[in-house]
């Protein structure tokens, strides 16, 4: 069905279609539409909606629900996500599946409410303490927000790991058409064997009690646990990288961008193509795991890369790691409060060409 949807509402509809059981959050702009929508709709569907007293409470409610094997979601915007980091570290330590949405705004500190992509580092480098990763998805259209929300539970449960969906406030607030009958924007998560639920704490009647913890005091036990997590992360890196290529076949210069920056970049790509400039775009969809080898393959042929972000340069570090010195990497970005523009980008590209 074709619907005109706001980004934040598309998340809600996707999460409901994906089988969400419970939602907990504390209000913050620019994602309050999510709470408002769920407050109205979830009780009608006999699902849990609870406005928490703080972000810390919200993420711990997610923790409690995830322990029981139910599908829990929380959403917030940058400062609120910072407050949740302790909980996210515990969720990863305990290997609990859940979905966390960050509708990013500008920081540091309280910043303001306009959109940004300043939480790339926070999302892809853990954010809390310890050696851990969350799977980070970066939609760039309202349709993708819907599809990612819908499939994110499968991804989280397949690996028993939190999934973060991050998009800037602009994408959260904008509206466009979502056609739920088309395949574009689907993650196509492969479930090749039944999802193991033999860890769920749902009452020990007729079975041995189970224990889920992130505290490992016995000699060697914690190191063992971390090696186990590493194996899982390696498997995710191998299987779950998602990236899209636009006009890269004959490109002499490549833009790398995600989310709203990728949309503005695409406009620049097609404008420049009309002028005869051979340019393409690589759009990482998973920010972790990052498409290092996919970018490296292209860097073997293309020697100029431009990273476009709504921050002062965060993903550029991953792009540099990916090209590993065999191509030049330039940057165009606007930090919190600013929005990248296709014309400024075009000027930047012409200046380095």
């Amino acid at each position: 069905m074709k619907k005109l949807l706001q980004g934040n509402i598309a998340f809600c509809e996707g999460a409901i279609d994906g089988g969400l059981d419970a939602y907990y959050a504390y209000p913050i702009t620019p994602q309050n539409e999510i709470s408002a929508y769920f407050a109205k709709v979830l009780p009608q569907k006999n699902k849990v909606f609870l406005q928490a007293e703080s972000e810390l409470a919200a993420i711990n409610m997610v923790f409690g629900t995830a322990l029981t094997g139910k599908r829990a979601v929380t959403s917030s915007s940058s400062p609120g996500i910072s407050l949740m980091q302790e909980g996210i570290s515990y969720l990863c330590g305990c290997e609990l599946p859940c979905v966390i949405v960050n509708v990013m705004r500008g920081g540091p500190g309280l910043g303001n409410i306009s959109g940004s992509q300043q939480d790339y580092f926070q999302s892809t480098r853990g954010g809390g303490h310890g050696d851990y990763y969350t799977i980070v998805l970066a939609p760039f259209s309202v349709k993708e927000i819907y599809e990612f929300a819908k499939e994110s539970f499968l991804l989280a449960e397949k690996y028993r790991n939190p999934v973060m969906i991050i998009y800037d406030g602009y994408l959260g607030q904008m509206m466009e058409v979502v056609d739920t009958e088309t395949d574009d924007g689907k993650l196509n998560v492969i479930i090749d064997k039944p999802i193991d639920k033999n860890w769920v704490l749902d009452g020990a009647k007729d079975r041995q009690p189970r224990k889920i913890r992130s505290l490992f005091m016995a000699e060697g036990e914690l190191e063992q646990h971390n090696w186990k997590l590493k194996n899982k992360y390696d498997k995710i890196k191998e299987k779950e990288v998602r990236v899209k290529f636009y006009e890269t076949h004959d490109a002499e210069i490549i833009i790398v961008a995600f989310g709203m920056s990728a949309r503005v970049s695409l406009e620049a790509v097609y404008k420049l193509r009309r002028e005869g400039i051979k340019i393409g775009l690589i759009r990482p969809i998973t920010l972790w795991p990052f498409p290092y080898s996919e970018i490296y393959e292209i860097a073997k042929k293309v020697k100029k890369f431009v990273v476009v972000e709504m921050n002062l340069g965060q993903m550029i570090e991953d792009v540099k790691l990916a090209v590993n010195g065999i191509a030049e990497v330039y940057f165009y970005g606007r930090p919190g409060g600013g929005l990248v523009e296709s014309e400024e980008l075009i000027q930047k590209i012409k200046s380095i060409k």
Partner: protein, 183 residues
């Protein structure tokens, strides 16, 4: 067909609704659209704006850098946006609440000589009908009449979907008055 419409006014004048109705109508006619509201610290009385793109082709960026059309509902928005986003084709002004500045008019006409300025006495027309809140519907009528990118019937259908019966009649009337003001 490719229209980039920048709509600005005061919070409470219905500029966001105006944009949404345009977009909803365009969707009914199977066009590609994006709608992108400002959601800053604007409050009632402050400036509010939205960016509407309507096209026969897929739209990449929802951000407008050079609007083809611009709709200005009050003086603060006129002063704030007109030089920042030079409209390329048509400038709609709500003359009831926009105090035009000769120097600015001269300046934009030097830069965009082909610019057409459409002056609509939107707030006054709405007030005469008996509902000052529907000045946005008057402007909607003028836009639909002038641009001819969406059919009048489609817009009426959309209005029928979003307004309660109680206020539909008034808004339809405002919409029609806005169309007639250009005839």
């Amino acid at each position: 067909m490719y229209n980039e419409i920048f709509i600005a006014g005061s919070g409470g004048q219905g500029v966001l609704s105006l944009g949404r109705i345009l977009v909803m109508s365009a969707v009914e006619e199977n066009k590609y659209v994006t709608y992108y509201p400002s959601y800053g610290a604007e409050v009632r009385g402050g400036t509010a704006n939205c960016m509407v793109k309507i096209s026969d082709e897929p739209i990449y960026s929802p951000v407008i850098e050079h609007p083809t059309e611009m709709v200005i509902m009050n003086t603060p928005s006129y002063l704030k946006f007109i030089k920042k986003f030079l409209p390329q084709k048509i400038l709609f002004l709500n003359t009831s609440l926009v105090e035009e500045n000769e120097e600015i008019t001269r300046l934009i006409l030097t830069q965009i000589p082909q610019l057409e300025i459409i002056r609509v006495n939107a707030t006054e027309i709405a007030n005469k009908i008996g509902n000052i809140l529907s000045s946005n519907m008057v402007m909607l009528g003028s836009i639909v009449q002038k641009l001819k990118i969406i059919s009048v019937e489609t817009v009426k259908t959309v209005l029928g979907k979003i307004f309660d019966e109680k206020i539909l009649e008034l808004n339809l009337q405002a919409f029609i008055k806005g169309m007639e003001s250009l005839k």
